[in-house]
């Protein structure tokens, strides 16, 4: 009677995709979004968990969520993980269909795997125009404390997206995207337009639009740094 594949699983037995409530074909954006969402749900102070999980259980779940995110967000770790799941017949044999989104990272196969983790540090430091934030945002340092131009730029680079990619999906001129990242507030359009841009940009990055626009506009209003 119960030949169905659906079985009730204990949290410890959920695979990373099930844990984040996404499918194995999820895009990077989906993973980011899902992580932000799930992390908020299983926050130790979340009242939706009240009386259901003990503090130890919550801590355990959070550890697993963290692990899942860190595995899936790195293309290579994810591939390894997928291969492991396929071997155990947990997900179907054929590799998950590569998503067709236009801002799909350019084939980064050329990047030697060893350099990937050290790359951002080397790359970011010189390009960031002395921001008030720590100049090096370690990879996957999310959730970020504050969304500033350089942080946004860094996040974009972590996702291996170029300004061009973002411009294609959001239909925002790449010039303005540059200005946003450089925080050239004087060159940016009026506040309401900027707000719209930021929302689209946030969505393209898969982060919380409300937080990103809020943080950024606060800086914008304060007329914060650099006249370029």
């Amino acid at each position: 009677m119960l030949e169905t594949a659906i079985m009730i699983k204990k949290i410890e037995n959920l695979n990373f995709y099930e844990l984040l409530e996404i499918t194995p074909s999820a895009t990077m954006q989906d993973i980011h979004k899902a992580y932000e969402r799930i992390r908020r749900i299983y926050d130790p102070n979340s009242i939706a968990l009240y009386s259901l999980f003990s503090p130890e259980e919550t801590a355990e779940i959070n550890k697993r969520i963290e692990e899942a995110y860190r595995t899936l967000i790195y293309e290579e770790n994810r591939k390894k993980y997928d291969a492991m799941l396929r071997m155990n017949n947990i997900i179907p044999e054929e590799p998950p269909v590569p998503q067709k989104s236009r801002y799909q990272p350019k084939p980064f196969l050329a990047v030697p795997s060893a350099s990937r983790f050290s790359a951002p540090a080397a790359q970011v430091q010189p390009t960031v125009p002395a921001p008030p934030e720590p100049p090096v945002i370690p990879l996957v340092e999310e959730p970020v404390a504050e969304y500033t131009g350089p942080v946004i730029k860094n996040m974009r680079e972590q996702r291996r997206l170029t300004i061009r990619n973002i411009a294609d999906t959001t239909k925002i001129s790449s010039r303005f995207l540059d200005y946003i990242e450089a925080e050239s507030f004087t060159k940016l359009p009026a506040r309401p337009y900027l707000r719209g841009f930021l929302i689209l940009y946030a969505q393209a990055l898969g982060c919380d639009p409300e937080r990103m626009t809020g943080d950024y506009l606060k800086r914008y209003d304060a007329g914060l740094p650099k006249k370029q």
């Binding site: 204990k10 979340s46 939706a48 009240y50 969505q203």
Partner: protein
């Protein structure tokens, strides 16, 4: 919404509960009823809150002459005779018991008689307004219905009770499907959070049962998959409050393995309180208010068998 009529020939029985008192069960039941009636569905509201009936008040009806207790105590033989017509076309009501203690605790025979009679009634929708708590009567009405709706407030107390309600309903359902006395005892023991067997989650229980008798365990697993209560979050004030519904959905999936469907939320507004004060239904007094709109949306989801999607948050 109307074009979906053909899908919905069969009569449906909905139970609205939630464990905690004062969270708006009656209010939501009454107003869902009014919305459905306006869509030309024949709706019967049944106040199954036998100890503290006040569904009639949310509909603006005074203390009714005939109530459910007349039927339960066989002062009236046919359930048709306790149905009261309301001022709203297509909407009728069976009011809850008004008198003595006994009626609040009908025995098994009375309960089955009531449920049997309800099934014979001519209506498109029968909405049962359940009382607070997790007594067997309430759980049985909840499990008997085609769909169970849980109402919660975005508050720890209400959420705690909702989970307890789900758990109790769940285990009661388990107990009904198994015949083996040993397993029944185990389910009873599992209800106690500090049980000696280390059964904490329904998952642990199923594992244990499987060890004893594999087939029964699988049957219980099947029951879990079939059990999908609906959720309504009432008195929502912020976006985070809306999020709580999704969070509960996720937590239930991961903890109980059950699929809680997030039917919708009702925004907080003073007009609700005003409508109750004036003893007139919200959907009549303030049809264009935000809470009324929210209830309409819930009714739409209810009719289409849909639930809220995450996109409402973005």
């Amino acid at each position: 919404m109307m074009e979906r009529d053909d899908v919905l020939h069969k009569k449906e029985i909905w139970a609205i509960g939630g464990g905690k008192g004062g969270i708006g069960k009656s209010l939501i039941t009454g107003n869902i009823g009014i919305c459905l009636a306006r869509l030309k569905k024949r709706v019967l509201l049944v106040d199954a809150d036998l100890g503290g009936a006040n569904l009639h008040t949310t509909l603006g009806i005074g203390v009714p002459e005939v109530t459910l207790s007349d039927f339960l105590n066989r002062r009236v033989e046919n359930i048709q005779d306790v149905i009261i017509k309301t001022a709203i076309p297509n909407l009728s009501l069976i009011s809850g018991a008004q008198d003595f203690l006994d009626a609040a605790n009908p025995n098994f025979a009375q309960k089955t008689r009531l449920l049997r009679h309800l099934e014979t009634l001519e209506a498109d929708y029968i909405l049962l307004d359940l009382g607070a708590g997790t007594s067997f009567n309430i759980l049985d009405f909840f499990l008997f219905s085609d769909h169970g709706v849980l109402v919660v407030l975005p508050e720890p107390t209400a959420i705690e009770n909702a989970y307890r309600f789900i758990k109790s309903a769940f285990y009661r359902r388990f107990k009904r499907v198994v015949t083996h006395q040993g397993i029944k005892d185990m389910i009873d023991a599992a209800m106690d959070q500090k049980n000696s067997m280390g059964i904490k989650t329904p998952y642990d229980l199923i594992e244990r049962v499987k060890q004893m008798e594999r087939e029964v365990g699988e049957m219980l697993e099947w029951e879990v998959l079939k059990f999908n209560p609906k959720l309504v979050v009432n008195q929502v004030r912020t976006k985070n409050d809306i999020q709580i519904g999704f969070a509960m959905k996720s937590a239930c999936q991961k903890y109980f393995g059950i699929n809680l469907e997030y039917l919708g939320y009702v925004e907080y507004d003073d007009c609700v309180w005003q409508s109750i004060r004036s003893k007139r239904p919200l959907a009549v007094e303030y049809p264009y208010s935000r809470p009324s709109r929210c209830i309409e949306r819930i009714v739409q989801n209810l009719l289409r068998k849909e639930q809220l999607s995450l996109s409402v948050l973005y």
